[in-house]
C-alpha cells in the first residue's frame, strides 16, 4: 500500500465531508461503495472533528499516513477471515450420512433422519444439517467449498494441541507465531495494527506475529476516555504515553504504542456515544448469547470504511465441545453461526465488497464417530471445514471417506484433505504469495483450486 502515495491526496476528510453533504459524489463503475456508507450524519460530523484532533496527535507522535486505509481500499486489498468453531465441531452432524447403516448403529441417539436436511449436491450420501441451510444456500450459488474430512496424519485429540497446530500451520508444538501472523510479518507494515485484526477482545494466536503490529478489538468503538481530562492535557497524555512506551523497549510498551496507533485508525468509528457508529445494509441475526453477528456486521462496515484490514480472526457463535446432550445446543449454535455468515456475505454483496473477502471456517478436530453414553460425542480426528466467498471455487476438497473404511483405529474419521494444503493454496491463490515462506515443508502438501 505504500506504493500508492498519490492516493493519500484523496484525503479521508474530503471524502467524508463530501459523503456527509447534500450532494453525494457519483460513484464510478467498478469502484467500491464509498467509505463510510451507512454512517449517520451525526457520526460523520463527529468523525470530521475527531480527525482534526487525530492529525494533531499524529503530528506530535511522529506517526504517518493516516490515509493508508483509503489507499488500501482503492487498491482492493484482499482479506481473509478466519472463523473458528471452538471445541471440535462434529463432522458427522454438520454433513451426515443419513442412510449409512454404520452411522445409524454408531449414533443411536444422535442420528438425524434423511428428511431433516437437504442433500449435499456434490455427494448424495451426505445431507446438510438443517441448521446449515444458509450455507447450503450459498453452496447452491457456487460460493462455498466444503472440506468434508479435513485434518492431518497422527491426529492429536487434545483441544489445545490440535488447535495450536491449526493456528501455527504446522504440527509443531514449539512454533509460537500464527500462520497468518507469519504472512503478515512478510508483507505487513510497522504502522498498521489493523492488518491483523482479532475481533474477540483478545489476540487470536493465528495472527501472532514477531515483527509487525496486530490489533485486537471488542466491538468497533476504540476510544479512550479519562474522567476530567480533555483538551491539550489529553493530547499531551497520549503523546507522553507514546514516549514512555518507546523508551521502555518492552512488550508492555509496544502494546501501548500499538493501542495509540489503533485509536487513531478507529476514529472513524468513534461515533457520538448515542447512535451505533455504522448501519448495515442487511439484517443480521439477533442474539443475546453471542456477539458473532454483530462482529461480522462491524467487520463489513470497517471494510466499507476503507480500514486497512488483511487478516481477520473471530470465533464462531457457540461452543462445539459437545460431550453431552449434543443435539439441541449444537443445532442452535450452528444455526446462529450459519445465518450470520450468510448475512455477512449478503452485506459484502450489498456494499460491492464481495470479491475482496474469503471466509475460512475451521475447527480443531471432528468428533468420535460413535456417540458416548451422554448423548454426546468425545474428541475425534478429521472434521469439517468451509471456504465461503464470491471468489471461492465452489467444489468440495477431498471427499467424505465413509464409515466402513473411513475410520481409524480409534474410531475417528480419517482425513481426505490436509489443513496445511488448504493454507498453502490460500496463500498462493488468494494472496499470491509463496507459501514456502510461511509454512514449514509447504511443498509436501497437495494444492487444490480454491479460488476462481
Amino acid at each position: 500500500m505504500s506504493d500508492c502515495r498519490s492516493c493519500a491526496d484523496f484525503s479521508r476528510s474530503q471524502l467524508l465531508r463530501a459523503a456527509a453533504g447534500a450532494g453525494l459524489p457519483a460513484v464510478e463503475p467498478g469502484m467500491p461503495t464509498p467509505a463510510g456508507t451507512g454512517l449517520t450524519r451525526r457520526a460523520f460530523v463527529s468523525r470530521a472533528a475527531g480527525l482534526a484532533l487525530a492529525v494533531y496527535g499524529v503530528d506530535k507522535l511522529g506517526f504517518t499516513a493516516l490515509d493508508d486505509g483509503i489507499a488500501h481500499a482503492a487498491t482492493g486489498g484482499r482479506v481473509l477471515v478466519s472463523v473458528f468453531l471452538q471445541g471440535g465441531a462434529d463432522a458427522l452432524s454438520l454433513l451426515y450420512p443419513a442412510d449409512d447403516a454404520t452411522y445409524l448403529k454408531l449414533r443411536p441417539q444422535l442420528a438425524l433422519p434423511a428428511s431433516a436436511g437437504p442433500f449435499f449436491a456434490e455427494d448424495t450420501r451426505l445431507h446438510w444439517h438443517p441448521s446449515l441451510a444458509p450455507i447450503a444456500t450459498l453452496h447452491g450459488e457456487g460460493k462455498v467449498a466444503v472440506l468434508p474430512s479435513i485434518g492431518y496424519d497422527h491426529p492429536d485429540q487434545s483441544h489445545f494441541t490440535s488447535r495450536h497446530y491449526w493456528e501455527v500451520g504446522a504440527t509443531d508444538p514449539r512454533l509460537l507465531t500464527g500462520w497468518l501472523g507469519r504472512y503478515l510479518d512478510a508483507v505487513g507494515t510497522g504502522d498498521n495494527p489493523l492488518q491483523g485484526l482479532s475481533l474477540d477482545g483478545s489476540l487470536s494466536p493465528t495472527l501472532a506475529t514477531t515483527k509487525v503490529p496486530v490489533a485486537a478489538i471488542d466491538g468497533t468503538n476504540y476510544g479512550f476516555w479519562t474522567q476530567n481530562v480533555w483538551g491539550k492535557p489529553e493530547d499531551r497524555l497520549y503523546e507522553s504515553l507514546a514516549a514512555i512506551g518507546t523508551a521502555s523497549k518492552s512488550a508492555a510498551g509496544d502494546i501501548a504504542l500499538q493501542s495509540l496507533r489503533l485509536r487513531e485508525q478507529m476514529l472513524p468509528f468513534a461515533g457520538d456515544g448515542n447512535t451505533p457508529p455504522f448501519k448495515s445494509p442487511v439484517a443480521y441475526p439477533q442474539s443475546g448469547d453471542s456477539q458473532f453477528p454483530q462482529q461480522l456486521a462491524g467487520l463489513a462496515a470497517m471494510l466499507a470504511a476503507g480500514l486497512p484490514l488483511t487478516c481477520v480472526a473471530v470465533e464462531a457463535a457457540g461452543s462445539y465441545d459437545t460431550h453431552s446432550d449434543q443435539a439441541t445446543g449444537f443445532a442452535t449454535d450452528v444455526a446462529l453461526t450459519a445465518s450470520s455468515l450468510l448475512a455477512f456475505q449478503r452485506d459484502l454483496e450489498a456494499r460491492g465488497l464481495q470479491d475482496r473477502v474469503v471466509v475460512h471456517v475451521w475447527s480443531e478436530f471432528g468428533r468420535r464417530a460413535e456417540e458416548n453414553g451422554s448423548a454426546g460425542t468425545d474428541h475425534g480426528a478429521a472434521g469439517t471445514g468451509f471456504l465461503i466467498g464470491s471468489r471461492v471455487n465452489g467444489q468440495q476438497v477431498g471427499e467424505f471417506p465413509g464409515l466402513t473404511t473411513g475410520l481409524d483405529v480409534d474410531g475417528n474419521l480419517v482425513p481426505t484433505s490436509d489443513f496445511r494444503g488448504v493454507y498453502a493454496s490460500l496463500l498462493e491463490q488468494w494472496f499470491d504469495f509463496d507459501a514456502s515462506q510461511v509454512l514449514p515443508n509447504a511443498s509436501s502438501f497437495a494444492r487444490t483450486k480454491l479460488i476462481r
Binding site: D156, S158, P193, T226, V229, A256, G376
Partner: protein
C-alpha cells in the same frame, strides 16, 4: 540439592515486587513494612500468614445494596474481588486464583454461582495445602463434575472429558515424552465412572452430588501399564505417581510467579521437595525466595490483580458493579475462564485488553478525580508529587520518572489563556494518575 536463595539487597523495590507477585500489591505503608522484614521474614509473612481478616470498607453495589454473590449477576466477581482487596492473607487469595486458573471451571456451563463459589472456597481452604488432597477434592467437586461431565460418566457409557483433562491440564501435560496414551484416556474414563447428581427444577440446577457404586465400572483397567479394578481414588494416585507429574506441577506452579522457566538444578530440587509429600506451601516458599523472582524480567500483572491492586493502593472498597464488565474487557472475568486450560498467562496484553486496563484505571480514579475548579498545586514538581502520592506512590523507573515530569512541565506550559491556567492543573493531575497507571512500569511487576 540446595535451592538457590536471593542474596541481594531486599529493599523497597524487591518488597514491592514480592507483594505484587504473591498477592495483589501493597496498601499504603506495606512496602516499607515488608522491606523491614528481610527476604525470609517477608516471604514467610505471606506463606505462613495468621488468620485472615478483611480490612477496609464493606462491599456493596452502586445502589448501596450488600453483595448477593450466589444470586445477583456479576456479584460473584465482585465478591471475590472484594476478598482480594481487603484480605490480610494475600498469598492465600492469590493461590486461590491460581487454582481457579489451574482447574479452570467456567460458570458458563456450570450455571450456578453458588456451586462456583463452593468450588472457590474449596480452593481457598486448600490454597497452600496438599496437592494430592486438593486433586481428590476437585475430582468430587460439584462444579467440576458438571463442567467436565463427571456426572454423566457411568458404567457402560463412559465420558472421557474429565479423565483426559485431568492428565493433560491438571497433572501430567500433553505430548510429553513418556506421557499417557489414548488408551490411558479411555481407561481413566472408566475409573472415574460412578458420580451422579439429580436435577432440581426448584433450584434450577443439579443437586445431591454423590458417588453411586451401581454406576461405577468395577472391571479391571490398565492405566500407565498397571492393571487393577481402579476407581477415582486410585486414578488420582496413579497420576500423582506418574514420572511426569512432579515436573509438570513444579513447572506450572513456577510459571505463576516467574516469567522464565527455572534452570535444571532448581527444577530438580523443587521436584524432589514436592514429590516427597505433595505439599504446596514449601514449594511456593522456595520459589518466592529464589533469585529469579528478584533479578529476572518483569511480569505482566493479571488483569484482576491489576484491578485489585489499584483499589488497595487507593484504599477504595467495592462500591460499583462496573468492575465486572471492566474485568471482562481487560480479559479476566472471574468464574468465566475462556476454557478448561484457563487464561493464557503469557498473553495478557493486546490492544483490546490494554484499553480494558485503561478503563479500569479510569474507573478506579474516577471517584477521586479532580474537577476543573479543584485546588491542586500549580508548580510542576508539587503537582507531580501530589498526583503520584495519590496513586499510591508506585515505584517507577528513572526513565519513566523523567518523562512523567516532562509531561507535567509541558502540559502546564500549554496553558496560555487565563482560563487554561486555572483549569489545566486539575486536568493534569487526573491525566498524570491515569498515565502512571498505564505505563509499562505499572502494568508489570
Amino acid at each position: 540439592m540446595g535451592i538457590p536463595v536471593f542474596r541481594g539487597t531486599f529493599g523497597p523495590a524487591q518488597a514491592e515486587r514480592l507483594l505484587w507477585r504473591a498477592g495483589f500489591g501493597p496498601r499504603r505503608g506495606d512496602v516499607a513494612r515488608t522491606a523491614k522484614l528481610g527476604l525470609a521474614g517477608a516471604v514467610r509473612s505471606l506463606t505462613r500468614p495468621g488468620t485472615e481478616t478483611l480490612v477496609g470498607p464493606e462491599p456493596h453495589d452502586e445502589k448501596g445494596n450488600p453483595l448477593a454473590p450466589f444470586d445477583a449477576w456479576g456479584h460473584d466477581h465482585l465478591w471475590w474481588l472484594d476478598r482480594m482487596v481487603r484480605t490480610t492473607t494475600p498469598l492465600v487469595e492469590r493461590m486461590t486464583l491460581i487454582w481457579h486458573d489451574w482447574f479452570a471451571t467456567s460458570n458458563d456451563q456450570v450455571g450456578s454461582q453458588e456451586l462456583m463459589i463452593d468450588q472457590n472456597n474449596l480452593f481457598r481452604s486448600k490454597a497452600l495445602g496438599n496437592f494430592s488432597d486438593l486433586l481428590l477434592s476437585v475430582t468430587q467437586d460439584p462444579a467440576m463434575l458438571i463442567w467436565l461431565n463427571g456426572i454423566e460418566n457411568r458404567k457402560g457409557a463412559p465420558n472421557e472429558n474429565y479423565g483426559r483433562e485431568l492428565m493433560e491440564l491438571f497433572t501430567l501435560g500433553a505430548d510429553r515424552p513418556g506421557g499417557y496414551t489414548e488408551d490411558d484416556v479411555r481407561e481413566q474414563a472408566r475409573s472415574f465412572t460412578g458420580f451422579r447428581a439429580d436435577w432440581s427444577d426448584s433450584l434450577g440446577r443439579y443437586t445431591n452430588f454423590r458417588f453411586d457404586p451401581k454406576r461405577h465400572d468395577t472391571g479391571t483397567k490398565t492405566v500407565f501399564g498397571k492393571t487393577g479394578t481402579f476407581d477415582y481414588t486410585d486414578s488420582c494416585k496413579l497420576v500423582l505417581q506418574h514420572p511426569n507429574h512432579a515436573s509438570f506441577f513444579v513447572g506450572k506452579l513456577w510459571s505463576y510467579f516467574v516469567p522464565a522457566a527455572p534452570d535444571t538444578a532448581t527444577m530438580n530440587a523443587l521436584c524432589a521437595m514436592y514429590a516427597a509429600s505433595y505439599e504446596v506451601q514449601p514449594v511456593v516458599e522456595a520459589i518466592l525466595m529464589h533469585p529469579a523472582v528478584y533479578t529476572g524480567p518483569a511480569m505482566v500483572k493479571p488483569p484482576v490483580v491489576y484491578n485489585a491492586g489499584l483499589l488497595r493502593a487507593l484504599g477504595r472498597g467495592i462500591d460499583t458493579s462496573d468492575w465486572v464488565w471492566l474485568g471482562d474487557e481487560a480479559g479476566q472475568r472471574l468464574f468465566y475462564p475462556p476454557n478448561v486450560a484457563g487464561w493464557d498467562d503469557t498473553r495478557w496484553l493486546d490492544t483490546a485488553t490494554f484499553r480494558g486496563r485503561w478503563d479500569i484505571a479510569n474507573y478506579a480514579f474516577m471517584t477521586t478525580s479532580r474537577s476543573e475548579k479543584a485546588r491542586v498545586p500549580r508548580t510542576a514538581a508539587k503537582l507531580y508529587a501530589a498526583a503520584l502520592a495519590s496513586s499510591g506512590s508506585p515505584h517507577v523507573s528513572a526513565g519513566t520518572d523523567k518523562l512523567l515530569r516532562a509531561y507535567v512541565s509541558a502540559a502546564l506550559a500549554d496553558a496560555k489563556e487565563t482560563w487554561e491556567q486555572e483549569q489545566y492543573p486539575p486536568l493534569i493531575f487526573n491525566a498524570l494518575r491515569q498515565l502512571v497507571a498505564v505505563t509499562p512500569d505499572f502494568q508489570t511487576s
